[in-house]
């Protein structure tokens, strides 16, 4: 079944929409959840919650790219769950490593500035991504959006592990500089 047909089922309030979404995008969403949570039960739960959220969102929404629409919901739900489970913990695992890396992008504190609004930060990061080469941008998104491991990214783009590492290292530095230049204080 095509995306359009599935979305039409949602609009008709036909419950087969959920079953069809599960068939087509179950693994895709599960993999996004699992990379963040590293736990089967939690990942399954997030995927099921994704279907419920989607059911409630369509209509009125009509996603242009269903996979990404679902993936974004899964990512948000999974990260919320991860935060609840890891609140105040030192922790380890891929998600913690990912955050450690992203912490390198946090601009140096400037006391006079106020914390930026989320929407402003989103807009700035989005603009920043357009300043990158396609290659560096893709690597950055695979790592920090999809939480893919270095080795998976290297395999995906047929690159050497070091190329991936260096690209990410550099992009993090660039993001930090960009946020500072834009006066963004996270």
């Amino acid at each position: 079944m095509k995306d359009k047909d599935i979305i039409d089922l949602y609009w008709q309030r036909d419950e087969r929409a959920i079953a069809e979404t599960q068939v087509l995008y179950g693994k895709y969403c599960y993999s996004i959840a699992f990379r963040i949570l590293r736990n089967r039960e939690d990942s399954d739960e997030c995927v099921n919650d994704t279907w419920m959220r989607t059911w409630n969102a369509i209509p009125p929404k009509y996603p242009e790219r269903l996979a990404l629409f679902l993936g974004t919901i899964t990512r948000n739900l999974s990260f919320d769950k991860w935060k609840r489970k890891n609140a105040g913990k030192r922790g380890s695992g891929e998600m913690m490593i990912t955050l450690d890396e992203l912490a390198e992008c946090v601009p140096a504190a400037v006391s006079t500035e106020e914390t930026v609004e989320n929407a402003e930060l989103e807009r700035t990061i989005n603009l920043f991504l357009y300043t990158l080469s396609e290659r560096d941008r893709n690597i950055f998104l695979r790592r920090y959006w999809f939480v893919e491991e270095y080795s998976d990214i290297a395999a995906r783009y047929h690159m050497k592990l070091n190329t991936v590492k260096t690209s990410l290292f550099r992009t993090r530095k660039k993001l930090k500089a960009y946020l500072e230049k834009e006066g963004i204080w996270v």
Partner: protein
């Protein structure tokens, strides 16, 4: 990491959820494009052009061969589509269609290849193994060392390949050494001039090895000429990789078995001068 810093990192992670969908989609497309270096097939174009230059009749021979192959294909398709159901050829095409169908977890319009890492990740269910892998990756990730320009120039072996002559107006941006098992694997150095940048990647690697993972054109130092470099920059423009005089190719230095990959936007003459200034005596 302090709680405060982690919270800020989380804010950035969350902000990434609002990334334009086209960018995310592009990260899927990249999988099929797949290439270290330039990310296009310049090498193939170059090879074909050289062949045509050497053999002027080559293009006519190629055209004739293409015509014959297309004819044979058309005949084959015709046979497959008009075979009675249940014959071996029909089963074969159905199998092929099944194999070519997108994976369940692939993005819309993407083939199975793009979705492969997702399905792989979904299958990796042994959490312990994953944790170990994550720890390993973390260790690997920490093996990138940031360097100053002077430090980069002083590196043993690779330092000699940091260009002495930098195109006018470009200033040092970054340098990073990548290590694997305590051995320096590569050195990358970047220079910027406004929005333009030059990135030089230096690594010890044989020509054969490089060709296995990269489709960028690669030349010997002796082959470098203004014409050749202009051609590379022009090709990058033709392929739509850049709107300015950008390009990506590699130079192989046989004596040290060193590969220097150039990626950036600068005038051909300056790029040539820069590449010819390698290797320099290590200070």
């Amino acid at each position: 990491m302090s709680e405060e810093k982690r919270n800020r990192a989380m804010q950035i992670f969350e902000a990434l959820s609002a990334v334009d969908e086209e960018l995310l989609e592009s990260s899927e497309r990249g999988a099929a494009k797949g290439a270290e270096g330039c990310g296009h097939s310049q090498k193939n174009i170059q090879t074909n052009r050289n062949l045509f230059n050497r053999f002027p009749l080559g293009r006519f021979v190629v055209a004739a061969v293409c015509f014959v192959v297309l004819g044979a294909l058309a005949f084959g398709i015709d046979r497959v589509y008009f075979q009675p159901k249940g014959t071996s050829q029909l089963e074969f095409t159905e199998d092929m269609a099944e194999n070519a169908a997108p994976a369940e977890d692939a993005m819309p319009g993407e083939g199975g290849m793009a979705g492969q890492p997702e399905s792989n990740a979904a299958q990796k269910e042994d959490v312990t193994q994953k944790e170990e892998q994550a720890a390993l990756d973390a260790a690997k990730a920490s093996e990138i060392v940031s360097l100053t320009e002077t430090e980069a120039r002083k590196r043993a072996v690779f330092g000699a390949y940091v260009p002495e002559r930098i195109p006018e107006g470009f200033v040092f941006d970054f340098a990073a050494a990548a290590f694997a098992q305590e051995r320096e694997e590569s050195l990358q150095i970047g220079f910027v001039k406004g929005a333009d940048e030059i990135v030089i990647s230096i690594r010890q690697e044989s020509l054969e090895e490089y060709k296995k993972h990269s489709d960028s054109p690669v030349f010997q130092k002796e082959e470098l000429s203004l014409e050749l470099i202009e051609e590379q920059l022009q090709k990058a423009q033709d392929l739509g990789d850049t709107t300015s005089l950008g390009g990506c190719f590699a130079v192989y230095f046989e004596d040290d078995d060193i590969l220097v990959e150039y990626r950036g936007q600068a005038e051909a003459e300056e790029v040539l001068g820069m590449l010819q200034s390698m290797p320099v005596e290590v200070r």
